[in-house]
């Protein structure tokens, strides 16, 4: 379903992604695990048509997203790291706009929105403005929205960052259910070990733009003779803290936190 071959992305003389290759089977839940600055978000952006790879090939459901952009976009949904909901609109309106933008046929729209809002327990709040939602509710709404157009693939970029354990648990239960019932392939990035361990069938550990190891959680633990996935991860990526320059995105994120946007 997803195939990446020798993906490279350079920004000037900085190489963010340096020859990444992997394959994800249909219906699989696949996780990209890596420290800050490893290249996870850059890789997801390349897979989802937001960035053009400097070199390398991508196949999504048989299509090349760099060539057949809009066709490829219909096949996947994405939940970004930063919220992309419109806080001044209601939950229902946010879902509705997504439905229109993704060409969900009118007859099916209302039904599908109702089904997903119910699945993620947001139906009662459908007429409330999204700015009144808690961080966990906003995340659930975004994920519900990602499933709206029955995509073949769902991309989740650090989906549970900042959420409490109950919200995280509930969220993954619902995602796994939809993965089972609708056969949606799930590709997620995270640096929560327990999550990757519990949720993902296969994991790729990425560091400094390269995949350091790939396999199921069990395989990775065996490979590094570690007791836990965290041990395996640290063994593979080292314990040094990753310092990075605050990008303009980070600065804006800080400003948003200052101005009270809840996460």
């Amino acid at each position: 379903m997803i195939k990446a071959t020798d993906l490279v992305k350079t920004f000037g003389d900085f190489t963010a992604v340096n020859g990444v290759s992997f394959e994800v089977q249909k219906g699989e839940i696949f996780a990209f695990l890596g420290p800050n600055g490893a290249g996870k978000t850059t890789t997801i952006k390349m897979l989802t048509t937001l960035l053009k790879p400097t070199s390398g090939h991508i196949q999504l459901d048989g299509l090349d997203p760099t060539v057949q952009q809009n066709e490829a976009r219909r096949r996947f949904g994405i939940v970004f790291q930063d919220p992309s909901l419109d806080g001044e609109l209601t939950a229902y309106e946010n879902m509705d706009i997504h439905a229109v933008l993704y060409h969900v046929p009118r007859r099916v729209r209302a039904e599908r929105i109702e089904f997903l809002l119910n699945t993620f327990e947001l139906w009662v709040r459908r007429k409330d403005l999204v700015k009144t939602f808690s961080g966990g509710m906003k995340r659930r709404l975004e994920i519900a929205r990602g499933f709206l157009h029955t995509p073949k693939i769902l991309f989740l970029d650090e989906p549970t960052l900042g959420l409490d354990p109950q919200s995280r648990n509930q969220l993954w239960t619902e995602v796994k259910n939809l993965n089972q019932s609708e056969g949606v392939t799930v590709f997620l990035t995270t640096h929560y070990m327990d999550e990757a361990d519990r949720v993902a069938e296969r994991i790729a550990i990425i560091d400094h733009g390269r995949i350091v190891a790939q396999g199921s959680s069990q395989q990775l633990k065996e490979q590094t003779s570690s007791e836990s996935l965290e041990g395996a991860f640290l063994a593979l990526t080292g314990s040094s803290i990753r310092d990075e320059k605050a990008s303009s995105a980070d600065q804006l994120r800080q400003m948003a936190r200052m101005w009270g946007s809840k996460r």
Binding site: L50, R73, D86, I97, L101, H103, L252
Partner: protein, 248 residues
């Protein structure tokens, strides 16, 4: 088509729901009208130019449309990282449609805001020369809104961070306003100033508004319309080019 409609509708909904903001944004025009309108009235009259209130009201209306439309475009900057725009940019919809929906929505909101200021002007004592003047004034408001919504989108698409925003405000938007004849007549200006004001697209918009509402015009109503249309088309092209190049 439905994509354009729903994005246009979104801008309208956001405007209508921000009641506190709507009232607050009427503060500045009101201030200009009351302070300058009444303050400069005696001086203006003494210079033989008639009522300053009548003169400055179209300028204040134009100012409202300018700021409202430019900000709708510049709001792109924040929206890009934090909001809804990312959702639209990754959707299977051609970017030109996204931009059109947003530009039309921003322009419509600017016109609505302008109409509210017209009401404020009427309350303060401004009298247009006839009721028929209002539709023509709306045409000019629409032209100004389109020009500056497109400019705002071009700027919002190009800027990387909020620091640039301050620069733009002080070195682009404020000069556009002050050098447009909104606050002072463009006749008999010293040559350099006359040259600069004639390069400002807003000058033709304000001139058109004055021609419609109080019957005086520096450039002539046809020139105004022609120039505004040309600049609008140019800026729409520029705006859509920069918008299409946004990389998240």
């Amino acid at each position: 088509m439905t994509a354009i409609y729903i994005l246009w509708l979104r801008e309208l909904k956001r405007y209508v729901r921000s009641r506190a903001q709507i009232v607050a944004s009427l503060g500045q025009p009101l201030l200009y009208l009351l302070a300058l309108g009444f303050g400069l009235e005696p001086v203006f009259r003494k210079a033989g130019n008639g009522s300053y209130m009548q003169f400055v009201a179209p300028g204040v209306i134009g100012m409202t449309v300018l700021f409202s439309s430019i900000f709708s475009g510049i709001g792109l900057l924040w929206d890009r990282q934090f909001g809804f725009l990312k959702e639209t940019l990754v959707a299977p919809v051609p970017r030109i449609r996204i931009m059109t929906g947003k530009a039309l929505g921003g322009a419509t909101v600017a016109i609505l805001q302008g109409l509210l200021v017209v009401i404020v002007c009427l309350l303060v004592g401004f009298r247009p020369r006839s009721v028929a003047a209002i539709p023509i004034a709306i045409v000019f408001m629409a032209l100004i809104a389109t020009v500056f919504a497109s400019l705002g989108i071009a700027i919002g698409s190009k800027l990387e961070n909020m620091q640039g925003f301050q620069l733009i405000m002080n070195f682009l938007v404020m000069p556009i306003f002050f050098l447009s004849g909104a606050l002072f007549p463009l006749a008999n200006l010293p040559r350099p100033l006359a040259a600069v004001t004639s390069l400002d697209p807003l000058s033709y918009g304000i001139d058109g508004l004055r021609a419609a509402l109080i019957g005086t015009s520096q450039f002539g109503i046809t020139t105004d319309i022609l120039i505004l249309c040309c600049v609008a088309i140019l800026l729409m092209a520029l705006g859509s080019y920069f918008f299409s190049k946004i990389q998240l």
